[in-house]
């Protein structure tokens, strides 16, 4: 594996509120390598989206952040606004969940792509327009010459998402952050868009941080997976490790609770209870109240993220108990 493109160390993100600090991300560390897809999986409240937004420095001024995010020798978290703006859209680009609201309805799609290009590159309008058409073609928008001047409302949902991808890759970023890129799309369109992302990634060699709650999507797209729960990383590893050899009770419980297209089980095994409050998290391991394996030690201390295999780590006091059985 090549040198990592991004190294995140000890990221903590808290939102001050009247009732106290809501700790959305706690002690998250990971590496991202060129050309790989790292999926960050979790449910709502897990901290996955906040992690991405914080890396892009798209957070509110009052947010409390600590930790480091080293990219190309610089710490993203301590860059000035100006320097960060130079990075966004050029070296690190983001694709958002809702294509309806992520594109400005009063400007043509083409002009928005052109803007993305000309903000970071000194090229003429004609050159940028030619590139925009090229990009639309690359992402599979039909009749790009005609469509480049159309407005977002004239595009369908899938096409808008493609347009957003075109905008994101316009400057061949080193990192692509995709935040729930297909959640708002129909499943057949979802397949198309994932295909586009795959092609685009191959063509540009960029690394992709894929944020999602959809385990099926992860199984098909990711090389490595990070599972988050209640602001913490609870397991990380290669995609096969996570799906077939998980050593974390939350990951396993999650896998057991989702209905599958192919499996024969008649009854789903749900995870009892609800995700914890981020304002007043339970003592010790955040998953303890819902965990079938919880014991005293789990209430006393938060387990550390420990290596359990080659490139595979789990945050659990009882990770060794899960070593014996495989999950699939």
């Amino acid at each position: 594996m090549t040198d990592p493109v991004l190294v995140v160390e000890g990221l903590n993100v808290g939102f001050p509120s009247k009732a106290g600090v809501v700790q959305a991300v706690s002690d998250v560390s990971f590496e991202l390598h060129a050309g790989e897809v790292l999926a960050v999986v979790g449910e709502s409240g897990s901290g996955k989206s906040v992690t991405a937004l914080t890396l892009m420095r798209l957070h509110a001024k009052s947010t409390r952040i600590s930790g480091r995010a080293t990219f190309e020798g610089r710490d993203l978290l301590s860059l000035s606004d100006r320097d960060m703006r130079a990075v966004r859209g050029d070296e690190i680009a983001m694709i958002f969940q809702d294509p309806m609201t992520a594109l400005n309805p009063v400007f043509s799609v083409g002009s928005q792509i052109i803007e993305a290009i000309r903000t970071h590159r000194d090229v003429s309008k004609q050159a940028a327009r030619a590139r925009a058409i090229e990009l639309l073609d690359l992402v599979g928008v039909p009749e790009p010459r005609r469509r480049v001047d159309q407005f977002p409302h004239e595009y369908s949902g899938g096409m808008r998402q493609r347009a957003m991808i075109a905008m994101a890759i316009a400057n061949e970023p080193k990192i692509l952050i995709a935040d729930e890129p297909t959640t708002a799309l129909d499943v057949t369109v979802q397949a198309q868009v994932m295909e586009v992302l795959r092609d685009v990634q191959e063509a540009t060699g960029s690394a992709m941080l894929l944020i999602t709650h959809d385990l099926g999507l992860v199984a098909g797209a990711a090389d490595r997976v990070q599972v988050m729960y209640a602001s913490r990383l609870v397991e990380t590893g290669g995609v096969d490790d996570i799906f077939y050899r998980s050593r974390n009770p939350y990951t396993r419980a999650l896998l057991d609770s989702i209905p599958d297209l192919v499996s024969e089980t008649d009854r789903l095994i749900p995870i009892p209870g609800n995700p914890p409050s981020l304002l007043n998290p339970p003592s010790g391991c955040p998953f303890r109240p819902r965990c079938s394996m919880a014991s005293e030690v789990c209430a006393d201390s938060v387990p550390l993220l420990e290596t359990v295999g080659d490139g595979h780590s789990s945050r659990c006091h009882h990770a060794d108990l899960l070593a014996v059985e495989a999950t699939s």
């Binding site: 709502s44 409240g45 996955k48 989206s49 749900p270 009892p272 209870g273 609800n274 109240p289 819902r290």
Partner: protein, 305 residues
């Protein structure tokens, strides 16, 4: 059944000690809105001042005392006297009561008319709505001041008559808001659920729709109050409002404008009172809007992290 039991136990985790109704939550939000509390107290103080003040400083509002005319503020005459020696504080208080009375009567009447018509338009839609919407648009275009002036010239400016005319013009603002709220609530799933249960139109309107309309309308009322006071003041300033010796805040400003070079305080005082009232009313409206808008402080737990 184990899943169910465990859910029960955990279900209490996220809940506060006591049930909090929507009204209670709104009240709490309101209390924390500093400007709104300021506005509320301001209004209370001003109103009390208008009522209690003249009881203490009990010069009659219309008694001339030419010997003591055009005096500055003193212990006898808190705001001084006007050009024929009448006590200005008492006159300001009287004028203030007058303005507030018109404001309240027209606001309440406009609200009653506007809420009913707007809600009907929103709820029944189609033909009914099309007609009412056009009527609303028509009224919105009409310049209120001109209509008021014409009316005052022809039919006299009795305070309650003026109130009715004002209500007759301004109900559309309430109607527009009510209609908008009803249109959006109508499509909410909980309204559909009520229909699915067999609820009659009446039940749906009274139980599900109106309580939510009240919130938005309340805010609009406070804004309306401000507009009415300014309109009445302008009318009186133009000489078409109250008839002397009665007075209103606008009239007081008009009376004082002649001497503005010598005695700017006389113009500023009623003018400032107008500004204070409208400001307080607006702050109050802001606070009410923030308190009653469910989307602003949603307790959603399922939102994106």
């Amino acid at each position: 059944m184990s899943t169910v039991d465990q859910s029960s136990a955990n279900a209490l985790e996220g809940l506060a000690e006591k049930p909090k109704s929507f009204g209670r939550l709104a009240w709490e939000r309101f209390i924390h809105h500093r400007l709104a509390i300021l506005g509320l107290f301001g209004l209370i103080l001003i109103t009390l001042g208008f009522i209690v003040g003249p009881m203490i400083n009990d010069y009659p509002f219309d008694k001339p005392d030419v010997l003591n005319r055009l005096q500055g503020p003193s212990r006898e005459h808190w705001f001084g006297t006007d050009e024929i020696g009448r006590d200005l504080f008492v006159r300001t208080a009287r004028g203030g009561r007058y303005s507030l009375a018109i404001g309240l009567l027209s606001a309440v009447t406009a609200t009653a008319i506007g809420t009913i018509i707007g809600s009907l338009a929103g709820y029944f839609g189609r033909a009914v709505d099309a007609v009412i919407a056009q009527v609303i648009n028509l009224f919105l275009v009409v310049p209120a001041l001109i209509v008021l002036s014409v009316f005052a010239l022809n039919f006299g400016s009795n305070w309650w008559r003026l109130s009715i005319v004002l209500a007759g013009l301004l109900w559309v603002r309430i109607a527009r808001v009510a209609r908008g709220v009803v249109l959006s609530i109508k499509e909410q799933e909980y309204v559909m659920a009520a229909r699915a249960a067999g609820a009659s139109h009446l039940r749906i309107i009274t139980r599900h729709i109106l309580p939510n309309v009240v919130g938005a309308v309340t805010v609009e009322i406070t804004l309306l109050l401000g507009s009415v006071i300014v309109l009445e003041s302008t009318l009186s300033f133009l000489g078409l409002g109250v008839r002397p010796p009665d007075t209103s805040l606008g009239r007081l400003v008009a009376d004082a404008k002649g001497n503005i070079d010598n005695d700017p305080l006389r113009v500023l005082t009623p003018g400032l009172v107008i500004v204070m009232i409208v400001l307080c009313v607006n702050f109050l409206g802001d606070g009410l809007r923030d308190a009653l808008d469910p989307r602003a402080r949603s307790e959603r737990t399922g939102s994106d992290d």
